[in-house]
């Protein structure tokens, strides 16, 4: 069985510094890590490999630093990693991203059985790349998967969508995205890590290697144009209360007790209490 996992490198902190003058994100200021949901997709693949035997390849599109993420994936047990790294691929929205990822599948593993992704990436969290890719490749697909079982070529999965627990069935080849709740990832073994950095099989590919149409990748292939980017202003000008916690609460009640009582539809005056 052949499994392709898509992982993305994301900044390790959620609050990225940005330059208020240029509106640019200072990505270089943040260290990268493997996207948590994608890491669980990899874990799901490795569990299938452990149980049924499989070849697992990992593909990422991103800057040169994303090579580390791929080496980590190899250290965890993936067979091979591929980094799609080319200035022409930069600035891609989810439409251009999924086109590029689909080209990579065609070039690297056209006879795949299963494709796995995270359901949301931690930095952009659109949740769109998986479903887009399913359409690009014309596959049966399910997002937000938390459990899966394989019997022959039949895949049964469980997922929660908007408060409904669904059990779905499909035949391979198929595509799944997994949530960050399921498939707790195995630790990365130190020796594996050293090996992966020493001799692990990680390859770098350009847009030309994928025979991707330059019109469809990167910024050029993206539908959206950002016309403005800003930090939303805080609007309200409230009252500041400070002091000991007890004094703060007393002051809150004294000054705003009526308002609170009104909102709660409760009498908070405490007066008619015995």
């Amino acid at each position: 069985m052949r499994i392709v996992v898509f992982v993305k490198q994301v900044p390790a902190v959620s609050e990225l510094p940005w330059d208020a003058k240029t509106g640019q994100l200072r990505r270089e200021a943040a260290e990268g890590m493997m996207d948590p949901a994608a890491k669980r997709a990899l874990e799901a693949a490795l569990r299938l490999k452990d149980a049924h035997g499989a070849q697992v390849i990992v593909i990422s599109m991103g800057p040169p630093s994303a090579e580390e993420t791929l080496r980590e994936a190899v250290a965890m047990g993936a067979d091979r990693g591929f980094l799609l790294c080319d200035p022409r691929l930069a600035g891609a929205d989810t439409l251009a991203t999924s086109y590029t990822l689909a080209r990579a599948v065609g070039a690297l593993s056209p006879d795949f059985d299963l494709i796995l992704l995270g359901c949301h990436s931690a930095d952009s969290e659109t949740g769109q790349v998986g479903p887009h890719l399913a359409e690009e490749l014309g596959l049966p697909a399910a997002a937000y998967v938390e459990k899966m079982a394989l019997k022959g070529r039949k895949l049964t999965v469980e997922r929660v969508s908007d408060g409904w627990l669904e059990t779905l069935e499909m035949d391979l080849p198929a595509l799944l995205t997994v949530t960050a709740r399921a498939f707790r990832p195995r630790p990365v073994p130190m020796t594996g890590l050293e090996q992966a950095f020493g001799q692990g099989e990680v390859f770098i590919l350009s847009a030309a290697d994928l025979r991707a149409d330059p019109e469809h990748v990167g910024w050029a292939g993206s539908a959206g144009r950002i016309i403005k980017i800003y930090a939303p202003a805080a609007q309200k000008k409230g009252e500041l209360i400070q002091g000991t916690p007890k004094a703060c609460v007393r002051e809150l009640m004294a000054r705003f007790g009526d308002r609170l009582g009104g909102l709660l539809a409760k009498d908070l005056s405490g007066e008619e209490q015995a």
Partner: protein
């Protein structure tokens, strides 16, 4: 010939009553349509969907495309995406809006791919600028940023919009829409996914989404044990407990209590926010409370700036003091 400029809102009715995002989008579409001389259309796909047709008519749809057929009886994104694609290819809407529910996001992404157009995720606002461009406002990157996005070339322009971003219009039973009934496209089938079973889960935070009072706790509360006090506070105030992402990740609270872009969208009248910094991904899930009280050690935290009353103190200590005070005042 002047082509009609239609704004479509795709009906997502599975959790109707709790999930009102379709109605909210109809209201917003009405505003946009008035400015661009367009038509507000609802799209209802499924089987036995007459109820929603009536509902969307009463909430501002001027035209409703109804595809009611046994083939569409299962609520599957791959299937609905195909039906929506064929309808959009025929009728060529200018804009398609879909609520950013799990289902809506999956459906929207699949339909956008099939239509070869772009899609902006989780919009918090939509407007037409002076040049008449359709501007989508959405959280960007991992930081406290909003991006304004336009689609210069791709049509239709598609967006998913977070629930709670807009207010719905009052129900108008006398409103009449043009209703167009259509058959599913010839040979419609899904993507090969079969639904084996589905059932509604228990506590999924609908109470939180509809609560008039929410007590929201963040990392600043300090520990799981301290966080638990919020449940007592919520009981005293008749409210529900919400949480930020670090709190959920640390397992101080269930995932269902997550408030924000990735979690529940709340619209309380009264919000207590304790030990919360106020990151955009969190506040994006909170629709203008009438009254907000924030507790934080840092008076400059965004949440403190947004609050009506900002209390500079230890969040846990204030929670305890408030519990004592409320008990003393007989709110038991």
């Amino acid at each position: 010939m002047n082509q009609e400029r239609a704004i479509w809102v795709v009906g997502d009715y599975r959790n109707y009553f709790q999930n009102r995002v379709t109605l909210q989008l109809l209201a917003k579409a009405g505003e946009l349509a008035a400015k661009m001389d367009g038509t507000v259309c609802a799209v209802v796909m499924g089987h036995g969907v007459e109820e929603w047709v009536g509902e969307y008519q009463a909430h501002g749809a001027q035209r409703i495309y109804v595809m009611d057929h046994p083939l569409l009886s299962e609520y599957l994104p791959g299937l609905f995406a195909r039906a929506l694609e064929s309808l959009a290819r025929q009728r060529r809407p200018e804009i398609i809006l879909i609520g950013a529910t799990s289902f809506g996001k999956e459906l929207a992404a699949r339909a956008a791919s099939r239509l070869g157009t772009g899609l902006t995720a989780d919009c918090v606002d939509l407007y037409l600028d002076q040049e008449g461009r359709f501007v989508q406002v959405a959280p960007a990157y991992g930081g406290n940023l909003l991006a304004e996005i336009v689609f210069p070339r791709h049509r239709p322009q598609m967006a998913t919009v977070r629930p709670g971003a807009f207010a719905e219009m009052p129900h108008d039973a006398s409103a009449r829409a043009e209703i167009i009934r259509l058959d599913p496209p010839a040979g419609l089938s899904g993507d090969g996914v079969r639904l084996v079973s589905c059932r509604r889960l228990g506590y999924q935070g609908e109470d939180l989404e509809n609560a008039k009072v929410v007590i929201c706790g963040g990392r600043g509360l300090g520990s799981r044990k301290k966080f638990k006090n919020l449940h007592e506070l919520a009981r005293l105030l008749g409210g529900e407990v919400g949480a930020t992402r670090p709190v959920v990740h640390a397992d101080w609270a269930e995932e269902e209590r997550l408030v924000g872009q990735a979690g529940k969208h709340i619209k309380p009248r009264l919000l207590f926010s304790l030990g919360v910094s106020g990151a955009i991904q969190h506040t994006a899930g909170i629709a203008d409370p009438e009254f907000t009280i924030a507790v934080n050690k840092n008076p400059l935290a965004v949440m403190m700036q947004k609050a009506d009353v900002a209390i500079k103190a230890d969040a846990h200590q204030v929670a305890l003091a408030l519990i004592r005070e409320l008990k003393a005042r007989g709110s038991s």
